[in-house]
């Protein structure tokens, strides 16, 4: 084999680093959206590769719904501390109070939609012109259509019919005042690529990604972590299960999967065997309609 052979993970990494540096080179006030989930943890590692031994040319920004897993929040704070990078947290709770917004109620209540309000407010507060996010095209059919540099208007809206063509490795980050660009460096990665990369890089994750015993509610055949935030009905039963999380979002709309995978090799083996997609297995929010994700993105969702 030619010694100048680049493994697929190296190729994906090189592409993502190039995209991050384009953000640093083209924008004045970029930010990296960081939730403490595996995809944004991967972005942070890529940023280290792109900019060390220098500092990141952007802060880490977390839009905290207040309904997050405490393990992910702890991880978030420790990581920012260890890297010596700036972390900005804005709380959905504050937006709700300040703007007198109503909280969604009922069986499928989540702060997913409210998160968009806080995100747009935060973008305005700091004047962010680019927000790097960990979305992947393999996650969902509407995301499969999105560009790597996704231009949003002053309301944060995505218009799939007016996307800029994106050619070669040239990214057009030119925008008018008030607009911003969402940038997705790991667009071309799959769930499995992310796990293989985390393994190769030896990255520690919040332990909820690995099997643990947890009290869960069974809702529409899905296991929801029991918490104070979740809507409860009188006949709900709390059961103890060995579970792990494939995605880590809000506790109210992210379901656990039953699992015995205690380490990364076991997780990778489990994903290879799985008959269910990542979001299909875990997300309540995508199921509300056939175009739930597309509609949310048109509304400014990340």
């Amino acid at each position: 084999m030619d010694k100048r052979y680049l493994d697929y993970l190296d190729q994906l990494e090189a592409e993502a680093i190039h995209i991050m540096r384009e953000v640093a080179g083209q924008f004045e006030k970029p930010a990296l959206l960081f939730s403490g989930g595996k995809d944004s943890i991967t972005l942070v590692r890529l940023a280290e590769k792109a900019f060390r031994p220098g500092k990141f040319p952007f802060p880490l920004v977390h839009i905290d719904t207040g309904h997050n897993f405490p393990e992910a929040i702890r991880y978030r704070d420790e990581l920012a501390e260890r890297l010596g990078e700036k972390l900005i947290v804005r709380n959905v709770e504050d937006t709700i109070k300040r703007k007198n917004l109503s909280e969604p109620t009922g069986r499928y209540a989540s702060r997913n939609a409210l998160q968009t309000h806080t995100l747009l407010e935060t973008i305005e507060e700091f004047g962010f012109d680019a927000c790097i996010g960990g979305a992947r095209r393999d996650e969902e059919k509407a995301r499969a259509k999105e560009r790597i540099f996704s231009v949003r208007d002053e309301f944060g809206q995505w218009d799939p019919k007016r996307q800029r063509p994106e050619l070669w490795n040239i990214y057009n980050g030119r925008i008018n005042k008030g607009e911003n660009v969402r940038v997705f460096p790991i667009s071309n990665w799959t769930e499995l690529d992310v796990w293989n990369y985390i393994k190769r890089e030896g990255i520690a994750l919040p332990h909820i990604y690995y099997t643990h015993e947890r009290e869960c509610l069974v809702r529409d055949g899905k296991l929801m972590a029991w918490s104070d935030f979740i809507y409860q009905e009188p006949d709900d039963v709390v059961v103890k299960k060995q579970v792990r999380f494939r995605t880590v979002g809000d506790m109210t709309c992210t379901a656990a999967v039953e699992s015995v995978a205690y380490d990364i090799d076991a997780v990778i083996a489990e994903i290879l065997e799985s008959k269910i997609s990542e979001r299909g297995a875990t997300r309540i929010d995508d199921k509300l309609s056939e175009t739930a994700m597309e509609d949310r993105k048109k509304g400014g969702y990340f």
């Binding site: 509407a142 040239i170 269910i276 175009t291 597309e294």
Partner: protein, 418 residues
Amino acid sequence: MDILRFITAGNVDDGKSTLIGRLLYDTKQIFADQLEAIESSGRLNEDGQIDLSLLTDGLKAEREQGITIDVAYKYFSTEKRKFIIADAPGHIQYTRNMVTGASNSNLSIILVDARKGVQEQTRRHSIISTLLGIPHLVICINKMDLVGYDEQVYNQIVEDYKQFAKKLKSKDITFIPVSALKGDNIVESSELTMPWYQGPSLLEHLEQVPVSQDFNLEDSRFPVQYVIRPLTAEHHDYRGYAGKVISGTYKAGDKVTVQPSGQTTTVKSVELGGKVLEEAFAPMSVVLQLADEVDISRGDVIVKAADGLEVAQEFEAEVCWMHNKALKPGAKLLLRHNSTETRCVVRNIDYKIDINTLDHLEDVDQVQLNDICRVQIKTASPLLLDKYENNRSNGGFILIDETSYATVGAGMVAEIEY
């Protein structure tokens, strides 16, 4: 494991989405919940089976109209390779989206309906694929089930295509008879239905097409994207040039020239993430430290002294126009080439290319959406260019509208004047 990026093209009803659906389905990359979502939509194909094309048309408007509007990216892998599919629309009014998908692809699958043979769209997509320098073409003659798997029909289409392909510069063209709907010759070879066909199935072919030599490792080009200056006690004098090796190779000790200033120096080290590497080669993203303090900023290009690179402000290019507002001579635009952006003027439109015949249409006073033309461009500041046919990574550029900032054109350098 390496990556093959490919595009699928073909007429609207030639079964492109079904082919992709079939590739994903037969390689078991479709999850049960995604199938269930299609099943629950209640849309079945004429055989009463689930409609695999629904896997790729992700937008509401696409589902409403039953056509693909924009490029969708799909992923699958086998033990041998990871694949990235750019599923491009077939409609002529979305040619710009096909160009988008083609710009990053190393292989193009062009579908031909066996009942209809070589069509205008077949020619158009073949021409666009070769204009964009895609090294490998695969002509999939689809719907063989509807012509009774007839060898004569297949041979006739191959013959017709070869006749047309004489005009193309493409060196690697492969023909495969398939039925995307039935799954013949997509993943498994179909010895039962087409015993006369001895070649590989589509997937076998995709797995074995060589991709490593598609990277140019000869002409060393390193456009600087960002300068790393930590200014910490530990790295007080550190200055690293962050960028991507878009072609060629770099290692410590290499003599290099910084363009456009022309200063020469030596590579002190090649690094990534603070770790020293022995060598960097395309398409790696790395950091270069240089032996001497030279003035370098974003947009400069570090090249090996031995390699020639044209520093030019005037050149000719092929441009695919991607906007509703027509392009006219004298148009002032922004031009972005790797990490450089400059103003430019389109001084002249030499001719328009008929993308059905490759003929040149002269005396054109404007260029419309989806037209491909040859223009003369003059830029405000010098660019460091290669001809597109010699170096795909350094010969392409985009044109941006000065006020709306829309990407309005894709350009490929054809002739450099100096």
